[in-house]
C-alpha cells in the first residue's frame, strides 16, 4: 500500500460529513427545549412575583397585616385606608392540614413500605405495588368527592358541627398522599444495599433488629424526602381540600370547624375577581406564598439529597 501524503491525510481529517449535521441538529434541539422550559418558568415566576407584590406596592397593602391579620376582605379598606388582607387563617389552615396529614401518612407509609420490601416482598410486589400505583393515579376530585360523601357525614355524626373542617381535609389528604409517600419510601428502603443487611444479619441480628437499626437508619434521608414530597403535594392540593374543609375564612378553634387553606381561597375567589383589582392582586399574593412554600420544600429535599451523597 502506498503511503498517504500529508495532503491526503489533511483532506480526510478536514472533510465534513452528514454525521456532523445530525450532531448539530440534536444539540440545537435539546438546547431549544432547555431554553423554552427555562423561559416559561421564568415568565411564571415573574408574573406571580409582580402580581403578588403589587398588592403591597400598588394597593398599599401592609405585609404585616397579610401575615398577622385574621380578616380577609380585600375589596374594603380599613381605618388607615389600607385593604383588609389578613391571610393568617389560610396560612394556619394550610400548615395545619399539611402537618397533620404528614403525621398520619408518614408512619403509615413507612410501615407499608417495610412490609412490602422486608416482610412480604412477593405479596408486596404482586399485590401492593399495583394497588399503590392505582391509588397514585386517582384524580384528586375523586378523593374530594369521596371525602364529601363519606368522611364529612361520618365526622358530622361523631363530632359536633357540620363535619366540614381541618379534620375532614386532613383525612382526605392523608389518604391522597399515602400512596405517593409509600412508593417513595419503598424506593428509599429498597435502595439500602443487600450487603448492609447481610452485614447486620452476620452479627447475629434478628430481622427486626436489622430493619430498625440498619435499614431504616440508612434509608432515613430518603424516608424524610418521601414525607416532604408528600407534604409539598398536600400543601399545594386545592380541589379535594376545598370540597371538604368548609371554606370559612377564620382561624378554627377545633379540627371540626369549617376553615380554609391558601389553595381553597384561591380556587374559590379567582372566578369572581377582575385582573388588576385589589381583590385579584390579593389572590396573587396568596399564590406567591404557595410558590415560596413549594420552593422551600424543594430546597429542603435538595439539602437532604446533598447530605445523603456527602
Amino acid at each position: 500500500m502506498m503511503a498517504k501524503t500529508i495532503k491526503e491525510i489533511e483532506h480526510t481529517l478536514y472533510r465534513k460529513n452528514s454525521k456532523m449535521r445530525t450532531e448539530r441538529f440534536g444539540k440545537s434541539l435539546t438546547f431549544l427545549a432547555v431554553v423554552l422550559t427555562a423561559a416559561i418558568t421564568a415568565a411564571i415566576l415573574f408574573l406571580v412575583f409582580s402580581k403578588g407584590l403589587s398588592t403591597f406596592i400598588m394597593n398599599d397593602g401592609s405585609v404585616k397585616d397579610f401575615f398577622t391579620g385574621t380578616t380577609w376582605n380585600p375589596a374594603e379598606v380599613n381605618s388607615l385606608g389600607k385593604p383588609i388582607i389578613g391571610a393568617l387563617p389560610f396560612i394556619v389552615g394550610s400548615l395545619a392540614i399539611t402537618g397533620i396529614s404528614a403525621l398520619i401518612a408518614g408512619p403509615l407509609a413507612i410501615g407499608a413500605a417495610i412490609f412490602m420490601s422486608e416482610i412480604a416482598p412477593n405479596a408486596g410486589k404482586r399485590i401492593m405495588q399495583p394497588v399503590i400505583e392505582l391509588l397514585v393515579g386517582i384524580p384528586s376530585v375523586v378523593y374530594g368527592f369521596i371525602g364529601l360523601s363519606v368522611v364529612v357525614p361520618f365526622l358530622r355524626d361523631l363530632f359536633p358541627g357540620s363535619g366540614f373542617g381541618i379534620a375532614a381535609g386532613t383525612i382526605v389528604l392523608s389518604v391522597m398522599i399515602l400512596p405517593t409517600v409509600t412508593s417513595l419510601a419503598l424506593d428509599a428502603i429498597q435502595s439500602v444495599p443487600r450487603s448492609l443487611r447481610e452485614a447486620s444479619l452476620a452479627l447475629g441480628s434478628t430481622r427486626w433488629q436489622m430493619i430498625c437499626k440498619v435499614v431504616l437508619k440508612t434509608a432515613k434521608p430518603g424516608l424524610l424526602m418521601a414525607i416532604i414530597f408528600g407534604m409539598a403535594r398536600a400543601f399545594g392540593e386545592a380541589l379535594a381540600v376545598q370540597m371538604v374543609i368548609g371554606n370559612a375564612s377564620v382561624i378554627p378553634h377545633s379540627l371540626f370547624e369549617p376553615a380554609s387553606t391558601i389553595t381553597s381561597i384561591l380556587t374559590m375567589g379567582m372566578g369572581y375577581t377582575v385582573m388588576g383589582q385589589v381583590e385579584n392582586n390579593a389572590l396573587w399574593s396568596l399564590a406567591l406564598i404557595l410558590l415560596l412554600m413549594s420552593l422551600f420544600f424543594t430546597i429542603i429535599v435538595r439539602m437532604i439529597g446533598k447530605g445523603k451523597s456527602a
Binding site: P193, E198, A199, A202, L203, G204, S205, Q209, K213, T218
Partner: protein, 276 residues
Amino acid sequence: MQSVALQPVKMKTNRIKVVDSPDFPRSSVLQTTDLSVYYGEHCAVNEVSLSFPKQSVTALIGPSGCGKSTFLRSINRMNDDIDSCRTEGKIYYEGVDLHSLNVNVHEIRKQIGMVFQRPVPFAKSIFKNVAAGPMRYGVKDKRELLGIVEENLKKAALWEEVKDQLHTSALRLSGGQQQRLCIARALAMQPSVLLLDEPASALDPVSTAKIEELISQLKKDYTIVIVTHNMQQAARVSDEVAYFYMGRVIEHGPTEQIFNHPHHEQTAHYINGRIG
C-alpha cells in the same frame, strides 16, 4: 473459645452446649459432612466434607463460581435468607449440628462471625459500628462499651488510627480502615470462628498487607476460614488450603504441601495460573 476467657464482659449469650460426638475430632471446631448447597436446581456446593482445626487459618481457593463463597456462607447459615437456596448434609460446630431445629440462627452468627468482600460499615459513628452488636445483646454501660470498642479496635489494628475520632462517621474512613472496622465489629461479638469472604480483594496493596498481618495475629484466638482469589495471599496467611472446583473439594491439605507438592494435577494447574 479462648477469646471468652480473655474478655470478662457480661453479655447475654447462651453458648451452644458442647456435645461429645464420637466422629467429631476434638481438635477441630468446625466440620462439614457431605454438605451440598443448591440454588434451585443448580448444585453450587457438592458433598463437601471439610474440618477446620482450632486456631488455624484455612484458605478456600478455586476459580470464580466454584462454590467456595457459597460454602463459606452456608457455615453461618447466611444462605437461609436466599429463597431458592437449599442445603443438605451436616455442619458441626463444636460437635453440634447447626441445622438441627432447636439451634438459634442468631446465636450461630454471633459465635461464627463473618466479614464480607466489600467493607460494609453502617452509616453510624466508628464507636457505634463496633458497639452495635454488644448493645443489641444487652450491654448498656457506657464504660463497658468503650472498653469493648477499644479492645476490639486494637485487635483489628485500627485503634491507633481512629482513637481520636471515635464519634465521627465510619463512612469517612478509607476502604482499608473500613474493612478493619468491619473485622473489629465482628470480633466485638466474641466469636470463636471468623469467616472471611475475600476480605482484601477490594483493597489496595498496603491495606491488604495490614489485613493479612491482622489475620496472622488473630489466628492465636480464633479459627479463621478465608476465601481468596489471591494465591500469594493463601500461601502467606493460611495453614491449610482447600481447592474447590465445580462445587467439589478437589484437594485439601497443609498449605506447604498443596503449594509445593499437590497430589492432583488440576490443583497444580490452578495454583500455577493455568485454570480460572
